[in-house]
């Protein structure tokens, strides 16, 4: 049981990195849970997957229906079953989409139940990979606890690295018990490679991999093709294999 959250500034390609990691890991002898915890849900598409319902929908269902249910309904059991019903079971991995953020009203009780359920869900997998926004919302609310490692994806921009630095500080502020934080430089060109690497060192961020800018990924994106179909020969896919080794998965 190991939980890795992938985060970073919007547009840096964190979802692409998450999808490529999953792509490389599905054929290994391990159970994998992929969680899309970014309200701007992109991971299912990158995995070539259509997910219709989300954890957020189920939480909302519970809030809307709570007064219409039989009074002694065990809501935790009901919610657990609903979460399992939206857990997409695919070849080699399962996928859970967190979906919509909280609305108005009080989510204390629902979230408290959800925490327990998510703990149990995550416990069932050898590896959980979470694609999450830079605000780490589900981590900060403790909906998904026990995240061991953070992989911050950044592109060739200075702002991307600054976000990485901010995330590192945020982790400290939030008292998240994250064992290790790695940085993956993404969409790197020969021109900016050296400079980015240096800047990352300056910020004290440990670089777990440098994924080259890959024409093929751009083309996949343009054609709307899922990254899970990327050929093994793609330079980005090759580097992702290295990252997996470096992370010791």
């Amino acid at each position: 049981m190991r939980v890795i959250a992938i985060t970073g500034k919007g547009g840096t390609g964190k979802t692409a990195v998450a999808a490529m990691l999953i792509r490389s890991l599905v054929n290994r002898d391990m159970t994998i849970l992929a969680i899309d915890a970014d309200p701007d849900t992109n991971l299912p598409e990158a995995l070539g997957d259509g997910v219709e319902e989300t954890v957020g929908d189920q939480r909302e269902f519970l809030l809307e229906e709570r007064d219409n249910l039989p009074p002694d309904t065990d809501k935790q059991r009901l919610l657990e079953s609903k979460i399992y019903s939206v857990l997409a079971e695919r070849q080699g991995y399962d996928l859970l989409v967190m979906g919509r953020p909280e609305g108005a009203g009080c989510y204390c009780f629902a979230n408290n139940m959800l925490r327990g359920i998510m703990d149990r869900v995550v416990n069932n997998y050898d590896l959980t990979i979470i694609d999450t926004g830079a605000g780490l919302e589900h981590l900060s609310r403790g909906i998904i606890r026990d995240v061991d490692e953070l992989v911050v994806v950044t592109d060739g921009s200075r702002r991307g690295l600054q976000t990485a630095e901010r995330i590192r500080d945020l982790v400290k502020e939030l008292d998240l018990e994250i064992r290790k934080m790695h940085v993956v430089l993404n969409k790197v060109t020969p021109q900016n490679r050296e400079r980015l690497n240096e800047y990352a060192q300056e910020l004290g961020l440990e670089v777990a991999g440098i994924v080259p800018f890959d024409e093929e990924i751009a083309q996949f994106d343009l054609d709307g093709r899922p990254l899970i179909e990327l050929p093994d020969s793609s330079p980005a896919a090759v580097e992702v294999e290295n990252i997996i080794m470096k992370l010791g998965i």
């Binding site: 009074p71 002694d72 079953s81 009080c106």
Partner: protein
């Protein structure tokens, strides 16, 4: 004893998920049908340990297949009674999850079961093995069960037939649980989830009072406290009843003292004015006293406009929240409007004068029929003058109070027609609204100030009170 089964039985297998790839067979669930039911029967009506299967057994099922499943248990014993059925039925979930390789989700007609390939490989081939193990656990853990027998059904037609009967049983049970009241139980529940931002908040959940966030009813409290007694929801011994109408209990007062860090030591759960329940900030609806009409208005989170007192939900919530007993304001959950004890210390529905239309529509059926048309909405009144006129025109019972409790009679004379709807006032303590008027002037949104003096000695030679103009 467990040696007779080809699987291990232990609570440590709870939470074990059977993934599709590992699944041998799926039973009931969202894509099929099924249910679980426990019936209490006479001791001579059943044969202990008997198992009957109607339909295909596991060994006859195709790998990866999906089938309906009904599980009906009949229990008997000197202490077994109909009221225990639901509690016993819930345990089927626990016990079947103790079985290694078996996943049981949800309850009643929403059960969802999976059995994994490993369990089959180890020798599980019949529902009889599962039923016998489950029945063994029932008898071991719930010792009042003297005899138990089980019927499992996997034949769709027969499942349908029995489900129709089960639905009647569930409906009858729901009717009973809806009729559960504060006086029927010994234990209430408390919740400390809001203490993170409202440290003196004391949240008490009783059969007749849902938590003010609207999310936790008495049964939820019971379920959560059972799973984790040290968790955010916990049992509160009711203790002695000090005021039946107001809902004051020694057990609640003790918990109030403890939870609020000594800030509050008395709470009346069905009272608006006297020692009201604290308001955390999560409440769905806030009630506000309207001194001009001696009534109480309610406004919910979804209503963006101003209430007749000139204040919006957000500003009243700001004043009321924070886990305090606030004079003249009270946060509640929407379901509290459906309680037969709804602010009964202060006259219940007879005291309600205003609420937004969409809130009123939501609970329309639960408002007593003799008052429903007399409660104003924003369509009837947006300020105090209009509200007064509306209440007078409609002959709201509150109008009677104006004449009986104030020196000067009300401008209009609704008294003549009031006999038709006068409500019995038995058990409702008299309350002097003039006192409150002075305490919380509510026009213009000025905030109430509360001064708490602890162990103080105050000596005053002279006090001059004058009207502020």
């Amino acid at each position: 004893m467990a040696d007779e089964f080809p699987f291990e039985i232990s609570p440590m297998f709870e939470g074990e998920r059977v993934r599709k790839d590992d699944m041998y067979v799926e039973l009931a669930g969202p894509k099929s049908k099924g249910f679980e039911l426990v019936n209490a029967v006479g001791i001579d009506e059943i044969e202990d340990g008997k198992f009957t299967l109607i339909g295909a057994d596991i060994s006859e099922m195709e790998e990866g297949g999906r089938y309906p499943l009904a599980m009906i248990y009949r229990i008997a014993g000197e202490l077994v009674e109909t009221d225990l059925e639901a509690i016993v039925e819930r345990r089927n979930h626990d016990f079947q999850n103790y079985i290694q390789g078996m996943m049981h989700l949800n309850q009643r007609y929403d059960v969802w079961i999976r059995i994994n390939k490993d369990a089959i490989a180890k020798g599980l081939k019949s529902f009889e093995q599962i039923a016998k193990a489950t029945m063994m656990l029932f008898k071991n853990e719930l010792t009042f069960i003297e005899k138990i027998e089980a019927t499992y059904i996997t034949d769709m037609e027969k499942v349908d037939e029995e489900l129709a009967k089960a639905m009647d049983k569930y409906a009858a049970r729901d009717e009973r649980t809806r009729n559960l009241h504060d006086e029927d139980v010994d234990t209430f529940y408390g919740c400390s989830l809001c203490q993170s931002f409202a440290p003196t908040s004391v949240c008490v959940i009783t059969p007749d009072r849902i938590a003010l966030c609207g999310a936790i009813n008495w049964f939820d409290g019971r379920a959560a406290a059972k799973v984790d007694p040290e968790g955010p929801q916990f049992a509160v011994e009711k203790g002695e009843c000090l005021d039946e109408t107001g809902g004051e209990y020694t057990g609640i007062n003790e918990v109030a003292q403890k939870l609020s860090g000594g800030e509050y030591n008395r709470i009346k759960i069905h009272s608006f004015f006297e020692f009201p329940h604290t308001s955390c900030g999560c409440f769905e609806v806030v009630g506000f006293f309207v001194p001009e009409v001696d009534g109480i208005g309610w406004v919910d989170r979804d209503y963006a406009g101003n209430a007749p007192n000139g204040l919006a939900f957000s500003s009243m919530a700001g004043q009321t929240g924070g886990g305090k007993q606030v004079m003249g304001f009270l946060g509640v959950g929407i379901n509290y409007f459906r309680s037969p004890k709804f602010i009964q210390a202060d006259g219940g529905w007879d005291r309600v004068v205003w609420m937004p239309k969409h809130l009123k529509d939501k609970i329309l059926e639960d408002i007593p029929s003799d008052i429903v048309d007399k409660v104003a909405t924003e369509e009837d009144a947006q300020d105090i003058t209009a509200l007064k006129t509306f209440l007078t025109d409609k002959g709201h019972p509150i109008v009677e109070r104006w004449s009986s409790e104030e020196e000067e009679p009300a401008e209009d004379e609704p008294i003549t027609e009031s006999d038709a709807f006068s409500m019995p006032q038995v058990g409702i303590p008299a309350f002097d609204p003039a006192m409150l008027k002075n305490l919380t002037p509510m026009t213009g949104g000025c905030g109430g100030v509360k001064v708490t003096l602890k162990n103080a000695k105050v000596t005053i030679d002279k006090v001059i009170l004058s009207n502020q103009k």
